[in-house]
Each structure stands twice: as C-alpha cells, then as structure tokens.
C-alpha cells in the first residue's frame, strides 16, 4: 500500500479538492474575506479600555470649582457628560433606565471640602472625598474604568498648590506600552479565525462527499481512509497559511501591530495548530451525518475557543475547571504561542509545552478519526 501509488492517490485527491475549491467562488471568497472583515471588525471594535462612556452629573454646588472639576473629568476622555440631573433620585432613575453608565455627584459643600483638603495637605486621614461616582457596576469593564477616575489629580481644578500625589509603585509596561487592545487582539484572532475555517472546512469537506454520495464510489476504489483524510487536509493547510498571512499583513498595515518574533517559529507554531484543528474537523466529519450537523459541532468548538482560550479574557483569571477545558482546545495553545512569538519575540523552544499539547491533540484526533472512518457503509 505504501509507496508511489499511495502518494499518487493522495495527490489526486489534493488536486481534485483544490480544483473544486477554486470553482466554489463563495468558499474561495470567504477564505480571504472572513479574516479581512473580522480583523477590521474586531480590530476596531474590541476595546477593553472603555472610553467616552455616557455619564450624568448632579451638581449641587454650581460654583466655578464644580464646573472646573466637571470639565477636568471630561477631559480624561473616560466619560462624556450627556445629562444634568437635579437630584440623586433622578440620577439613579437615569442609571436604571440605561441612559447613562455613571453619575458624578458633587455635594453642595464642594468648595468647603476643597478648602479643607488643601489645609490638610497630604495627610490622608483628614482628607475627605470631594464627591461621589454612582456607577452601573453590571459591566465590570465600565466599572473599573470609572474606578480609575477615583484618584484624579486636582491641580487643573484648583491651582498649582497641590503636590500631585506620587504612586507607591511604578508600573513599566512591556510589549504594549501604549496599552492598545488591538495589539493583543490581532495575534489572538489568528487562533479564532483559523479554528473556524479549519475545523469547518475539513468537517464539511468529508461530510459533503458522504451527503452527495461520492463516498460510496470512492470506497470501492483502492483509496485508503488515511489517504482520503490526508488528501482532504493538505489543501486546507495551504488555506490556513494564506489566512495567517492576510491577518498578520493587514494587522501590521492597518493597526500597526508588530511582528517581533521570527517568522519561521511562527510558521512552525501555525503548522502544529492547523494540523490539530484539521484533525478536530476530521473527528467531527466522522460523527456528523450532514453538513448542518458539522456546522453545529464546529460552533460547539468555536465558542469555547473564543471565550476560554484567553482570546478575550486572561486565561489565568479563569477558575481551574475552565482552564482544564481550555487546555483541550487547540486555540488556547496557539494563542499563547502566537502572542509569545509575535509580541514578545519568544523562542519556539521555550514554548514546548504548548507545542507538545498541540501534537498530542493531533495524535489523539487522528486516532479517533481513523478508527471511526472505515471503508464500510454499515
């Protein structure tokens, strides 16, 4: 079975698959458009650093100081004051209605508080807050952004007499000094988009042959299951690399996301990830009876890949059971490797845990897929 005839059969399937793919204009277009559109969409849209949140103000003092404080708050760009309320009751109702995310309450003795604060100087025991933020805390990202305004410096509001309080500890931000979310999102998108296309394409490709009756003919020929699977996978490895090039290229051009690491390391990591995703697709194809079922199972893999892989939320912050599940997803491991190589110029050998995990997923997947796929119909 091994030898030249085998490779000829595999190559026959590869070229047939590529030819069919090139005829299917919709799929062909999606290979290019899915990564481009999603990159644009997520690159612009996903921002964990909330800005210009709609806020209200209850100004009981109506003095020049209170107006200066409101202007200074708005200048931080975290909030934008859209409404004025005359009482706390009204303000709370506005938050409940969803009109504003937060309300700044400035009490009627604001000027007095400011004076006492100046007199107290740096003595924290004597200083009292100037006002209060009422926040819709249901969205934790919004709440933490507003919390960031707690220690707003006051020198612009009053005069230069205040010494800006110096922080206890200094923070130096490596790899993403400007704290742009997109820098972290683009390498992560590689994992998400490839999970979607790789798993879906392979699972659908084999299920389609079964749905259209081609399998019945193929299995009476000398083709072996292993050859059929390999022949089906290879074209999509190419597709995967095309998509990676699109995402990284456009990410660099449009969002200025750097690729700091070595491209050959990235290619190695990508290869491992693509193979793991493709075998996952193969396993699905041996279970699903129709293309619709294959699609549903793909979504079943895709959703945890988006939510648990560390793409949007830090992996380390998840509870232990969720981490265990995430470790079984190829996307989790690739996400770590891709971010390490692209953003931190990491060495592939320092990422061997994830590389081995991807290899293990591939091996287990191949084992399951080839044991389930037989050249029989019953």
């Amino acid at each position: 079975m091994w030898g030249l005839p085998m490779w000829n059969r595999i190559w026959a399937i590869v070229t047939k698959e590529l030819r069919q793919l090139s005829r299917d204009r919709m799929s062909f277009g999606l290979i290019v458009m899915i990564p481009l559109i999603q990159l644009m969409l997520f690159g612009y849209a996903i921002n964990t650093d909330a800005r210009q949140l709609p806020a209200g103000v209850v100004d009981m003092e109506q003095s020049s100081y209170s107006r200066a404080l409101i202007l200074a708050t708005e200048a931080s760009q975290v909030v934008q004051f859209t409404s004025q309320y005359s009482s706390m009751v009204e303000a709370e109702a506005a938050i409940t209605r969803g009109e504003v995310k937060a309300v700044l309450y400035l009490p009627s003795d604001l000027d007095g508080r400011l004076l006492r604060r100046r007199a107290a100087g740096e003595n924290p025991e004597l200083s009292e807050p100037l006002g209060q933020w009422l926040v819709d805390g249901s969205d934790t990202v919004v709440a933490s952004s507003i919390r960031g305004l707690r220690n707003m410096p006051l020198q612009e509001v009053v005069d230069q007499a205040f010494v800006p309080s110096s922080p206890t500890l200094e923070v130096v931000q490596y790899f993403n000094p400007e704290q742009r979310t997109v820098v972290n999102i683009v390498p992560g998108l590689l994992g998400i988009i490839l999970t979607m296309t790789m798993v879906l394409f392979t699972s659908a490709a084999i299920v389609r042959e079964r749905e259209q009756g081609n399998i019945e003919f193929l299995i009476t020929t000398p083709v072996q299951p292993f050859e059929l699977m390999l022949g089906k996978i290879v074209p999509y490895v190419l597709v995967g690399f095309v998509q990676i090039a699109i995402i990284l290229g456009a990410g660099n051009l449009v969002f200025d996301v750097p690729v700091r690491g070595r491209l050959d390391y990235l290619a190695m990591a990508a290869m491992l990830f693509i193979l793991a995703s493709l075998t996952l697709g193969l396993v699905i194809s041996t279970i699903a009876k129709s293309q619709l079922q294959a699609m549903q199972m793909t979504v079943f893999v895709l959703l945890p890949s988006i939510l648990l892989s560390g793409f949007l939320f830090p992996f380390e912050a998840m509870p232990r059971p969720a981490q265990v599940i995430a470790e079984m997803l190829p996307a989790t491991h690739f996400m770590r490797m891709a971010r390490a190589i692209i953003l931190r110029d990491a060495d592939i050998f320092s990422l061997q845990y994830d590389a081995l995990a991807l290899l293990a997923i591939t091996a287990v997947g191949l084992l399951i897929a080839s044991s389930r796929f037989s050249k029989r119909l019953n």
Partner: protein, 317 residues
C-alpha cells in the same frame, strides 16, 4: 484466475444482512457464471442494493459469505478493488468537475499510468459519446449523459466484474436501449455484469436473473426458463365491467393477480390440485365474458413470486 471466461464469478452461501430488527437480505445463495449478465429483479426495498453492497465489500454481511472472483468476503475486499467496477444507484462522481476531469481523477485513483490513462480516457469519451460534453461540468448534464459518464468511470480500469445498481432509473427508454447495447458490448469483451433493476424489459435481457422480494430470493434462472416453469396459468378475460370483475376475482384465494391491460383483464391462477382445468373454473366466475390462454411474461413470473400472493420459491436450471 484473470482472463478466465469459464467458471463462476460470484458464489454466495447464506448471505444475510440485518439492520436492527429488519432483515434486508435473508440467506441469499448465488452462483453467477463468468462472462454473463446477471440480473437482480425486485421492487424497492427487496434487498437488491444491499446484496450488491455486500458483494462489493461496502457492507459487511451479518452472516454467510461469498466468493467474488476467487476472493472470500468478508475479508478479501481490498484485493478486489482493482478487479471490480461499481456504478452506484445515485450519481457519485463530482458535479463540479468536468467529464474529462472526473475521468482523469478516477484514472489516478486506480493508478493507471499517465500515458495510458489519457488514451483510455479519450477512448471512453468517444465510446460513450461524451465528446461534446468533454469540458462540461458533470452536474449540468442530462440523466443519460451522467449515466454514460458513470459507466465510463466504472469501467475505466477494465474490471473483470461490473456491479450496476439500478443504472437506468434516471434515463428515458431510448437511452435505456442504448445502455443495454453497451452492456452487451462489455459482456462480449469478457466482463461479468451484475445489474439490479425493477424494469421487466431490462430483466428479460439478462442471461440469468434472480427475483428478490423482502430480502428473499424467490426465483432464479434464465428469463425463458422462469416463464416456462411458472407455477400459475395466465388467462386473459375480455368483456365489460372489468373493474368490478377485477374486484370480485381479487377475493378468490387461488387468483394471484388480476390486472387490467387495455380492454382485457390478465388473470393469474395458482396451479393447484383443486383446479384440474382452469378455463371452466374461471368461466364460472366471469359470466359470459370470453377467455383466452396466453403465454406467461416475466412480469407474470414477477407478480407470482413477489408481494403477499407469492407462491413460493422457484429455482430453474
């Protein structure tokens, strides 16, 4: 073993296939000589496709075994792949590949050397009259063209044994005639052909056939022998009010079937000892209408051995 035109191509003993609680094929015995066209005749669900799929190794029999071209099934499927051809009931080549691309793909899967493959492909395209469709996508072709392409693909590697599962179900009568001419050409070239059908005229063309019903072989032999040996008389009744008469005769236990053909009613009467002479027996039941003995057709054989009224199995040498 190859090139041997005598002996048996397929032998089966007690081939049985069970899907859950239903017996798709029940203890099928077969002996199909090489170089002949052998038919499976039966209604839908009679086990024709399941039998073919077991003989090609696609389905594993629940019990029983078969010898196909000298290989024992189950077990020897892979050794048969290059020696058998299979044309599925549903078109199973690729709709979005052209005629030429489909044939090239099949040639490569069967490992036909490149130069030879090109020659064979062109030969098939000309034999099966697909020259005008050479570059056309298979999905956009007519039923007859698809069928010719499927036959070309199934015979590309010159198999000794060809399985055809209801090959003419999607084509018009004109194309069916032509198709059978091609089968006789192949048979002439030494190919053994096993074909399933539910058309009487096709079954009649086979050298030998087996009538299948509910997974059981009811009769086998050459069409002529089956007609001669049929266990029923065929009498045609002419007269009026045939619909009423048909309903009345349907209640007679010894009447296997009464079917209207134009202005006559074709009545099949079970050959049993109670009836010494069927003419007076029937005359008493049809009033003044005229009766005439006629020759049995294959359809009569089929009717007499399938359905609820079947009169048991027949085996004719």
């Amino acid at each position: 073993m190859t090139g041997n035109h005598t002996g048996t191509a397929i032998e089966a003993q007690g081939l049985t296939l069970r899907f859950g609680h239903t017996l798709a094929v029940n203890a099928l015995d077969l002996a199909i000589p090489r170089g002949s066209i052998y038919g499976f005749l039966g209604p839908n669900g009679s086990g024709k496709s399941s039998s073919i799929r077991m003989l090609t190794g696609l389905l594993k029999p629940t019990s029983g075994q078969a010898r196909v071209l000298g290989e024992t099934l189950p077990g020897g499927e892979e050794k048969l792949r290059l020696r058998i051809g299979y044309m599925t009931q549903k078109f199973s080549l690729y709709d979005n590949l052209s005629v030429q691309e489909n044939l090239d793909f099949v040639a490569r899967i069967y490992g036909v050397p490149r130069a030879q493959a090109k020659q064979r492909r062109d030969e098939l395209i000309s034999v099966y009259e697909l020259s005008d469709q050479r570059k056309q996508m298979a999905g956009s072709m007519s039923g007859g063209q698809k069928q010719r392409l499927a036959l070309a693909a199934a015979t590309l590697h010159r198999p000794e044994l060809l399985f055809l599962d209801e090959p003419t179900s999607a084509v018009d009568p004109e194309n069916r005639r032509e198709f059978w001419e091609r089968l006789f050409d192949l048979c002439d070239g030494g190919t053994t052909i096993l074909v399933s059908t539910h058309y009487m005229d096709e079954a009649e063309r086979c050298h030998q056939l087996a009538i299948l019903d509910l997974g059981v072989k009811r009769a086998d032999g050459s069409p002529q022998a089956l007609m001669n040996a049929m266990n029923a008389w065929v009498i045609e009744v002419a007269g009026d009010n045939l619909r009423e008469l048909k309903a009345a005769l349907g209640k007679e236990p010894l009447v296997l079937s009464a079917a209207q053909i134009g202005a006559r009613l074709r009545v099949l009467i079970h050959k049993k000892q109670e009836i010494t002479d069927p003419l007076p027996w029937l005359q008493a039941r049809v009033g003044g209408r005229s009766l005439e003995f006629v020759r049995a057709s294959l359809e009569d054989v089929f009717v007499s051995c399938t359905g609820v009224h079947h009169v048991g199995s027949a085996h004719v040498e």
